[in-house]
Symmetry: C2
Subunit: 208 residues, 2 copies
């Protein structure tokens, strides 16, 4: 039992070390040695858990997917209406806290590595598409009268905006402040919000 | 004279080699040796022009800024109206051609490096802000009645959307097709477009 606990403990340490090295030092700083130093173990012990740098990257991307997925699940189920749920899911993905800024840095580092590695690119696409799919489902719940194509187009646009905000805020938090990000997401949600004064086509009716 | 021409020729070769190595192999593949091989010269000759990998990155980012800047100037001056100019500037920045996809890859690679290097991050911020400023000026020309804050917020949102589209299209051109990108940009331009039936506040007037 003690050995199994030790093993789990070591895995947790290596996992946390991988995450924090990537979040702090980016893709150029991610090496087996840096992870070993951060975890307080030998490079051999890192190699026992991760074959190479690519395995470290895959692990960090999976952690990111799990973290953001759990937070999105929570945001989604806390929403009183589909629109509340959609807005919360988008806002939780934007970089308002240090935790989320770390996530944006991991996201960018992984993406940069994926540009040179088809297997990493596959993983990135898969996880990003699952986020687009979540957003698409929420858009459809908000506007059941919209065509599937319109819901899909709205979802890809919203996700592009959120990831663009995240990406830019990672190096320019002064231009891309929390308020700026929230305002951008709210503006992008305007067509989905469907004010009472507008009909399904987004055209204001003539008042009688 | 011959020597000067040789030197210029060599600089051009090194510049093209830096760009194409970064666009093809991303940040992990950018080394002095890879650039030397691509340029058909020795590593020593690369070192004569670029002190280190960071200098290669800075050069590629400056090339990117110049290329996109020239294209944006052309798009802007070809626009018959401020709205045409704004739309063209945003569309030219999105990844519709292989050339622009290359640019997105260079942008991402540089950004990933900038996360671990404050000097690179400064350069990235400066160039990105100059794009935001261009877009802000065009938004203000389209909607002179808007407050400066509203023009600025619209510009940061439009730039975030464009960079998000670029970033996502770089690894998932199937989800982020040219049509999807164009539709997303047009949807985001709707508030700027100011249909004749809406007044300055974006509220449809009651028809009398």
């Amino acid at each position: 039992m003690a050995r199994r606990r030790d093993l789990k403990d070591q895995q947790r340490r290596l996992s946390a070390a991988t995450w924090s090295v990537l979040a702090e030092h980016g893709l150029p700083g991610l090496t087996l040695r840096a992870v070993a130093e951060r975890a307080g173990c030998t490079t051999g012990m890192v190699l026992h858990a991760f074959a190479d740098k690519r395995a470290l990257l895959v692990h960090a991307r999976e952690l990111l997917h799990r973290r953001t997925g759990q937070r999105a699940d929570a945001a989604q189920s806390a929403g009183a209406t589909p629109l509340d749920a959609l807005r919360s899911v988008l806002l939780q993905a934007a970089s308002e806290t240090e935790e989320k800024r770390e996530e944006a840095r991991v996201w960018i580092a992984f993406l940069a590595a994926a540009l040179a590695d088809p297997a990493l690119a596959d993983l990135h696409r898969r996880y990003n598409r699952s986020f687009v799919e979540r957003v698409r489902g929420l858009v459809a719940a908000c506007r059941p009268e919209w065509s599937p194509a319109r819901c899909a187009a709205t979802a890809t646009t919203l996700v592009a905006l959120v990831e663009g905000l995240n990406t830019l805020a990672a190096v320019d938090a002064e231009t891309y402040t929390d308020d700026a990000q929230r305002a951008a997401i709210d503006a992008a949600l305007a067509p989905v919000r469907a004010p009472a004064a507008m009909n399904a086509a987004g055209v204001a009716p003539i008042l009688r």
